[in-house]
């Protein structure tokens, strides 16, 4: 076979090769994103995602969406503009959650015996689905950043509330009131994570009384819009094929 001849000899073969190629790329993409996004999120979201006694109504709500919209924005840029595939955000979150669950179950629970109900990951899927749908429906980076980014930030807390609410039930413990999540943090000793490291309930949103979660969510949503733009550009830049053209 010469270099100018095709590797396939029929349409059926071409389709088969194309599908094989699809699965190879998707498999590779999934695990590359899983690794990269997981490391990124652990480094930037870290303890806020690790422990229930960090999942508060101010900083967790603010930080987690902002640092997690990054990879979805970048992967969307590649998959949408190159292939019109609107599952960039969802595939990122599927990868991240699989990696996180493997880590939490095998490492946090399997090796160090922290109960899973203390160290489960945050749920990012509602925002990811909406982000993908907005991109698909509008076909616009700006609209996706504004509408989708806003939705990403706003859906985070309510999307997680059914999971964490039972841990915010109060308990009286030796004369002090705390939530069950606080009690988990106190009971399950983390030698390297003293209580003062916890960045929770800090800030000056006192004007809003007990209703600070929506305010934090709106702020997070606003910053998520900006971060979306930035990482969407990163994604577009990384998805360039200039180097292939040169060859």
């Amino acid at each position: 076979m010469s270099a100018s001849q095709s590797a396939v000899r029929s349409r059926a073969e071409a389709v088969k090769v194309s599908r094989t190629f699809d699965w190879l790329i998707l498999f590779t993409l999934f695990f590359v994103v899983l690794g990269g996004y997981h490391i990124h999120y652990m480094l930037t979201g870290g303890d806020w995602d690790f422990w229930t006694d960090w999942k508060d109504r101010r900083l967790w709500v603010t930080v987690a969406p902002i640092v997690s919209i990054t990879f979805p924005a970048a992967v969307q840029a590649c998959l949408w503009w190159r292939y019109r595939l609107p599952f960039g955000a969802v595939v990122c979150v599927l990868g991240l959650l699989l990696g996180e669950w493997i880590n939490r179950y095998l490492n946090f629970w399997g090796w160090t015996y922290f109960p899973v109900n203390f160290c489960f990951p945050s749920n990012l899927m509602p925002g990811a689905i909406v982000l993908d749908v907005v991109l698909m429906m509008t076909g616009s980076m700006t609209a996706t950043a504004v509408i989708g980014g806003m939705a990403w930030g706003l859906l985070f807390y309510p999307g997680n509330w059914p999971i964490i609410a039972p841990l915010h039930v109060p308990v009286e413990y030796n004369g002090m009131m705390m939530t069950l999540a606080d009690l988990q943090g106190y009971h399950y000793v983390r030698t390297g994570t003293p209580e003062y490291i916890r960045m929770v309930e800090k800030g000056t949103l006192r004007t809003f009384g007990k209703d600070v979660a929506p305010v934090s969510a709106f702020f997070s949503a606003f910053v998520s819009i900006l971060i979306y733009f930035l990482w969407h550009f990163f994604g577009q830049w990384f998805a360039k094929t200039d180097f292939v053209k040169a060859a």
Partner: protein
């Protein structure tokens, strides 16, 4: 040549297999906490733990034990370490092998960070409930913001039984009794599985169609718009609307199911009560101090003045949790860890009772392998070569006085 290459390849393969097998099969438990690696000055000049008591050496799963004692927040706190204005009474164990059922300083529960004062002595107690069987090194520990963990003495404690039997029952303020070990697990698994399945459904909707090559060709050919069909848009709208509806409904249901929830509790606990230590009547001046590297011994020249009304003798020098005793004056009856106890490690050139009003200059030698084993000898490599510790004097009635010392230390290498 080929034969040699084959043999090398085979041996390399065997070596690789052996290495991998060894790494997989030999996984010893990491039981210590780096206490020996911590800079000597951190252990000698920050928190002085004393009168420690581990209530049990063996405890069954679900049973409790306590660690109690006192700690002195050293007045000569090193400048290179932030002061303990934000601190946390922790416990040095390898993960949650115990749960911390309670911890108190000065009688106050301290689940949160506390502010401590230099020069004050505090009593503390930590209540531990056994969770995971094994032999564990259980340390006292204080974390200081800006200073890091300051680990105290540790003792081996054995937990017997099975972790499967462990329960952590708590009654909430809404009257429900739950096992915190497994509480909410099904709910967590359900919601994560549900949302993951929804994400997979969205992904599968797209991956069942040809993906990368045909779509790339279409986009390059300017036919990108043809790749999203009207059905795709309907399905997408269904996913988005369904997602928002599920979030809203599940949140509403959760609020109905858990009408009483509170925010996480945080904040610094101030006003922690220290112990009123009895006034001291002994005055000690450190004339000089040397550490003899080959002999693993520290020698101090002390001028001791007794301003009290009863004769006193020096019984103990305590630094970094290592206790050097003059057995003719003081013995340990608390079961203090052997490796931290030099029962006859303190030698005083003249330790006869020092009568009231008298003053005496003596040579005091604290010698034990612990200097080396606990890497206290590394003090000579610290940024400011000073040592510190507690001296315990005993009068004729057996009363004890605690005197702190803090002075430069000169190493001798010959």
């Amino acid at each position: 040549m080929k034969l040699i290459k084959d043999k090398v390849a085979k041996l390399s393969f065997v070596a690789l297999l052996a290495t991998v097998s060894a790494a997989m099969l030999y996984t010893p438990t990491a039981s210590a906490h780096g206490e020996k690696s911590q800079a000597a000055f951190m252990r000698m000049r920050t928190i002085h733990w004393f009168d420690l008591n581990w209530s049990k050496e063996e405890v069954a799963v679900n049973d409790t034990m306590t660690i109690s004692g006192k700690f002195f927040v050293f007045s000569g706190w090193p400048e290179t370490v932030d002061k303990p204005e934000i601190s946390f009474l922790n416990i040095g164990i390898p993960g949650p092998v115990f749960i911390r059922a309670g911890s108190w300083i000065g009688g106050q529960l301290v689940p949160r960070s506390v502010s401590l004062e230099l020069g004050e002595t505090y009593d503390f107690k930590v209540l531990l409930k056994a969770r995971r069987p094994g032999d564990w090194h259980v340390h006292t520990m204080l974390n200081v913001k800006g200073g890091g963990p300051i680990i105290g003495p540790g003792k081996w404690v054995t937990i017997t039984g099975s972790m499967g039997d462990f329960v952590n029952n708590i009654t909430t303020l809404t009257g429900e009794t739950i096992n915190l070990e497994t509480y909410n697990l099904e709910n967590i698994y359900f919601w994560h599985a549900f949302w993951y399945a929804l994400g997979l459904a969205w992904l599968f909707y797209w991956v069942r169609k040809p993906m990368f090559i045909p779509r790339s060709i279409a986009v390059e050919a300017g036919k990108a718009d043809s790749l999203i069909t009207a059905t795709d848009k309907k399905v997408a709208m269904g996913f988005a609307a369904g997602t928002i509806a599920i979030v809203a409904i599940s949140m509403g249901n959760t609020n109905e199911q858990f009408p009483v929830t509170t925010p996480l509790q945080a904040g610094l606990l101030r006003g922690i009560k220290s112990i009123e230590m009895p006034a001291t009547s002994v005055n000690v001046k450190v004339e000089d101090a040397t550490y003899r590297v080959p002999g693993r011994a520290m020698q101090m020249t002390l001028t001791i003045t007794n301003n009290g009304d009863s004769a006193v003798r020096l019984g103990e020098f305590n630094t970094a949790g290592v206790r050097f005793l003059d057995s003719s004056v003081a013995q340990d009856e608390t079961g203090y860890p052997d490796d931290l106890l030099a029962e006859e490690g303190l030698t005083v050139s003249d330790n006869s009772p020092l009568a009231p009003g008298q003053s005496r200059t003596v040579q005091v030698t604290a010698s034990d392998a612990a200097w080396e084993v606990y890497r206290l000898a590394d003090l000579i490599y610290d940024p400011d070569s000073r040592f510190a510790g507690l001296l315990f004097f005993y009068d004729e009635a057996g009363n004890r006085q605690l005197i702190t010392i803090d002075a430069p230390l000169i190493p001798t290498f010959i």
